[in-house]
Point group: C2
Chain length 342, copies 2
Amino acid sequence: MKTREVLLAARPTGAPRPADFRLVDVEVPEPKPGEILVRNIYMSVDPYMRGRMNEKQTYAQAWQIGQPADGRAVGEVMKSQNPRFPVGAIVASNLGWREHYVCNGEGVLTIDRALAPLSAFLGVLGVPGFTGWYGLKEIGRPKSGETLVVSGAAGATGSLVVQIGKILGCRVVGTAGTDDKCAWLTKQLGADAAINYRKAGDLAAAVREACPKGVDAYYENVGGAILDAVLAIVNPFARIALCGMISQYNMSTPPPGPANIRNMVGNRVLMQGFIISDHMNRYPEFLAEVGGWLNAGRVKYEETIIDGLDRAVTAFLGLFAGDNTGKMIVRLGPEPAAAGAR
Amino acid sequence: MKTREVLLAARPTGAPRPADFRLVDVEVPEPKPGEILVRNIYMSVDPYMRGRMNEKQTYAQAWQIGQPADGRAVGEVMKSQNPRFPVGAIVASNLGWREHYVCNGEGVLTIDRALAPLSAFLGVLGVPGFTGWYGLKEIGRPKSGETLVVSGAAGATGSLVVQIGKILGCRVVGTAGTDDKCAWLTKQLGADAAINYRKAGDLAAAVREACPKGVDAYYENVGGAILDAVLAIVNPFARIALCGMISQYNMSTPPPGPANIRNMVGNRVLMQGFIISDHMNRYPEFLAEVGGWLNAGRVKYEETIIDGLDRAVTAFLGLFAGDNTGKMIVRLGPEPAAAGAR
């Protein structure tokens, strides 16, 4: 049978363009013994993928020109020659950016549909949520009564960080790029204040006003001026978790760094970058805790769903324009009926 | 009796000037019961004291206008009404910037003259050495075979950090501001390379050349361009100990921060500021380890000694011009003969 996949066609300098990708038809082989054929239902587009378009290897393997892109996806097993994955099983894999695939099951995980809707396994219960949970708990370490600032707060990761901060008893201030996102943060997710960085004017003053007691923990998704504004008013022993700096991914030359970095010395500030793939052993613990909060209604999530593999590139590019509220997801096909109805 | 002390006369904006201080004659009272009269022999001038000239309280208490400055000093007990400190005892205190003082012994420590020359208790075995030892061991954590970069490497703190790095088996690269200091680092202290930041031209290129395997640990005393050059070539899981940023202490407005801070994310870099007074409980452990190295000849130190309280301000201002190699010390009076000779 035929299927479609998205190749990397060219390596961008600066902002990626649609022409850097190509949608192609390919043949899907029949699964051999030990193999499964999976139909993808949802695939993830994530900011970190910008780094994979570069030639230089970073922590995640570079995509190769002429080869399919890859990333997290959730799909349904259509044919199986592997007893671990019966037909009808719902599985998560790293084989996104394609409508079907055949593989031997390595790196494929069966998903418990009872826990949450399928798409949630790419967002709040997937790598973006796991990233937020880990970075906040292990690096940000906010305590009750402290002030937590989250940049990119309306994104897949940031929106969970905001809510965990509230569960932990913090004053939580989020930044986002539209008034609608800010309203979502304060009215739906419980943030104490939200700053529209595009409209704030003097961002440092806006952060100062929103954090009258200074900043004890900062969860960084964006980079640039917000980090500097936070460093201007960090409290002693503040912790800064560096998850990402999406504002800089399309810049060939980085902008000047935070002038207020010198405040880190006297205030004994800790700043630490991390990559979630170093910590996959903590995923079950995350799934138990955040899955529990989700089912108890203590954690909410939003998704921006784009339909069709032919629009996956649009969805990906939209991340850098801030087109998404919550997790940006590409739907590749219909969900199967729930297990009981089969 | 009369003695002399140095007052803060004015708060500087930018670089301090001699007129910001005033040398005055004051009366020293007779010690009352529980008190001691101490003649200071050596006093310390340190970069962190610049922060104490500002009105704004930082981690160290601000000096008050019209009041004597203070800081570490080593002296001899001349009169005693306190059995813990007999006449002739050598003591360290925070009552520098004066030739004599009377106090009740609070915060005063008796020094073991057998361990090292008296002035060493203000440098390699005092707070500067302790600061280097703690920051390197607890934050920098260099392992054998790794590359350690030290800025301000010819200073009181940096020069010990360089030597501990060599004891731990690292490739050690130091930066300093004169060719003589650089020669001291490589020829006397064992540094593998030294960079004269004033002559290097392209500092990033110089750091890259000196660190062909990248940087695993960085000990920061200076701030600015060196930090950025290090961040350009940090290795995964690098650690950066922020001890001080002397290049910025006299700036009212901080310069742009390190553009390469974005490299901290993918490389999982940890950067942490610290203040040694938070960790005084570790001082005995430091004294045992570094005192042992000193007596075994594994650690060397240099001092730049300026004579006379009337030149204490000159010595202090000289720190910001890089006038010192090793510890900058002001000698206020002669050392007493060793105990055996008394």
